[in-house]
């Protein structure tokens, strides 16, 4: 995901461009963290990203007092759950945050993904068995089909209708899991497959009770997805999503094929939800018709809204927090739905942009534009200045 540096600019005009970045971003953007980030040189940004990724990989190994979820909950397992929620939040963020489509049945895709993993790996299933890792892309593909089938009739509808139809979709998936005998209802599927690999002592690496390997698998997927989504964001796709979120009619009139881009957002979101479901199925090792309820869809929504709609880094934090809080503060775990429901209302009233309200960058060559602005103010139209300069 190279973003290209502006070509052949004198260092002076580069400096001026940097100044301008400062001037032009100041009034309209959030100051602080994102401001600091935007002013790091590329190498600095990459450096910090590397450190952040390294820290993320080390997370389940360091058991920091006060932060850890133990003794109530095993810390590596908690990390795995946080990563899973983060992945789901990233996917839902594409749908809700970027394209502005309120999806209240996201758990339906998650469930489909989980069932795909179970059906093709569990000994309880009569289908052909395939290696577990192959079920991740398979789950993504199957859920895309579901997403497109649901999207084609419903994405022309206005936002609130879409919300209720997707809510219905989530419920239908859950009910079908109960009704269809082949999906085994509450009995479910035991011993869902897992990735291969053994440690030095010959023990399996990926076991249900060990969170760390699953966590690493999940964040590896997350990193790949983040790079891919970053590419989409800084292109026509990301711009058109935000445009149709901001004003669908105006976007259509400006030449955005709104329906097509909504369908893409819906499909990509579905694929990520399905993938996360397949990972969950592998880690827990058991899939049945419980837990795929509306409450879970709403929790996913809370994750996106809390982190900041439209901001994929925010989605990671939001997802991790939604998983972390009930695991860490076991005393309030019982009230988590109540608390997160209230969080939704409070956020909407006081901070609808979420914790991280930074909008994404939508241009591949944004620095090139800064340079042009710098040139613009370097050579003002008054001829006197120009003569003095030469």
């Amino acid at each position: 995901m190279s973003t290209g540096t502006p070509m052949g600019g004198a260092s002076e005009s580069q400096a001026r461009a940097d100044e301008l970045v400062e001037e032009t971003t100041k009034p309209s953007r959030l100051r602080g963290l994102s401001y600091w980030w935007n002013h790091l040189p590329r190498t600095g940004q990459w450096g910090f990203l590397l450190i952040a990724v390294a820290a993320a990989f080390a997370l389940p190994l360091v058991n920091i007092p006060l932060i850890t979820t133990e003794p109530g909950n095993n810390w590596p397992l908690a990390c795995a759950e946080m990563a899973r929620y983060a992945l789901v939040a990233i996917g839902l963020n594409v749908v809700v945050g970027q394209a502005g489509l309120l999806d209240l049945g996201y758990v339906g895709f998650f469930a489909v993904g989980a069932y795909v993993a179970a059906l093709w790996t569990s000994p309880d299933s009569t289908l052909v068995h395939i290696p577990y890792l192959l079920t991740l892309p398979l789950a993504a593909m199957v859920t895309v089909v579901f997403g497109v089938l649901l999207g084609i009739p419903t994405l022309r509808l206005r936002g609130d209708y879409l919300a209720i139809v997707t809510l219905g979709f989530g419920e239908i998936i859950r009910l079908l899991a109960t009704i269809i005998p082949a999906l085994k209802g509450q009995v479910g599927f035991q011993n869902v497959g897992r990735p291969p690999g053994q440690d030095a002592d010959g023990n399996d690496v990926f076991v249900n009770s060990a969170g760390a390997p699953w966590y690493w698998l999940t964040i590896t997927v997350i990193i790949v997805i983040m790079i891919a989504l970053g590419n989409l964001e800084r292109s026509r796709v990301g711009r058109n999503w935000i445009a149709l979120r901001e004003d669908e009619d105006a976007a259509e009139i400006m030449g955005v094929p709104t329906f097509r881009f909504k369908l893409w957002a819906f499909g990509i979101g579905a694929a990520l939800g399905g993938g996360a479901g397949a990972i969950a199925a592998g880690q827990i090792g058991f899939v049945n018709n419980q837990r795929f309820d509306v409450q879970m869809s709403i929790m996913f929504l809370v994750a996106v809204v809390l982190g900041g709609q439209g901001n994929k880094f925010g989605a990671i934090i939001g997802g991790a927090l939604v998983a972390y809080i009930p695991l860490r503060f076991t005393a309030i775990a019982e009230y988590k739905y109540l608390i997160f429901g209230a969080v939704l209302v409070v956020l909407m009233i006081f901070r609808p942009q979420g914790l991280f309200g930074k909008r994404p960058h939508l241009l591949t060559f944004e620095r090139r534009a800064h340079k042009r602005i710098a040139n613009l103010s370097e050579a003002p139209s008054a001829p006197a200045t120009k003569e003095a300069g030469q």
Partner: protein, 292 residues
């Protein structure tokens, strides 16, 4: 980038947009082949009728827009001007009649397809993508001509890089063209009102239209700003665009247009040069008491 073209207006005002340098003029100029010659019919509106339930908003309206002209569409409130606009840009489906662009009916195409065919518009009440920067707004308009899709963006194909680079250059040129390039990186919703209006024009121009429709672009402007806007509209025309202008302000319309079509109660009541329209008794009767 040092040599400058003579600005299109004879006497630039001190706060008028800076004169364009050749690169900007070149980048902002329309790029497309247009089948009809300058002065020939670019758009034909034939017997356009719009009914909403029992209400007839447009009644058998016909007129042409010639390539390279600024056509004014005026009429008292509720005369059907915006309805006409909406029927031309695909927001409404005409009850009867049709709109031809370069001799081809735009038919029942989707709105974004009509935009790609070459009809762009601005909105009476500004409708920018408020969360985006000014430049990003313009680039959304440019995207109407871009070919790269989801796969190309995902894998960063050479075409994507070409299009993205071109988008920055052309987008910045368009912002310079309308005189707001200094605010290119500001959030659109934070721009001053006059800038927002100009940004809408730049965004519409970005789709590389054959016909640019401006819906009351001077609404809420003071006389000085109106003067600047007239200048800009003339520059746009001189650059090779065709303009359809809906406007309430008669002075502005008379000052800038080449030809005027007058609607009243959904019917066309006059069609002619500004000086003829000014003296047309039917038009005067229609506007009686609406003098501004």
């Amino acid at each position: 980038m040092t040599d400058k073209l003579t600005p299109p207006s004879a006497t630039p005002k001190p706060d008028a947009p800076p004169p364009l340098d050749s690169e900007v003029a070149q980048l902002a100029a329309p790029e497309r082949e247009i089948a009809v010659e300058v002065g020939d019919k670019l758009v034909e509106i034939q017997n356009l009728t719009m009914r909403f339930g029992g209400l007839t908003a447009l009644d058998d309206v016909s007129f042409d827009i010639k390539r390279g002209e600024i056509l004014g569409l005026i009429g008292p409130n509720g005369a059907g001007k915006t309805t006409c606009f909406n029927a031309m840009t695909g927001v409404y489906r005409p009850t009867e009649g049709q709109v031809l662009l370069e001799g081809e009916a735009i038919g029942r195409r989707k709105q974004h397809k009509i935009t790609r065919l070459g009809i762009a518009r601005t909105f009476q009440n500004v409708r920018l993508f408020g969360e985006m920067t000014a430049l990003e707004n313009v680039v959304v308009g440019l995207d109407a001509r871009h070919k790269v899709g989801v796969w190309g963006s995902l894998f960063r194909t050479p075409r994507l890089y070409r299009e993205e680079k071109e988008a920055i250059d052309r987008g910045m040129a368009l912002l310079e063209f309308v005189g707001i390039a200094d605010k290119a990186m500001d959030q659109a919703s934070a721009l001053p009102y006059g800038y927002q209006r100009r940004l809408e024009i730049a965004r519409a121009l970005a789709t590389d239209p054959k016909l640019l429709c401006l819906d009351e672009p001077a609404a809420g402007f003071n006389p000085a700003e109106k003067e600047e806007l007239m200048e800009l509209i003339r520059t746009i025309r001189d650059d090779g665009y065709t303009v359809l202008l809906i406007e309430h302000d008669m002075r502005l319309v008379m000052g800038v247009t080449d030809r005027i079509v007058v609607l009243e109660f959904g019917k066309k009541i006059a069609d002619g040069l500004p000086k003829d329209i000014r003296n047309d008794p039917t038009v005067i009767a229609a506007y009686l008491g609406e003098e501004d």
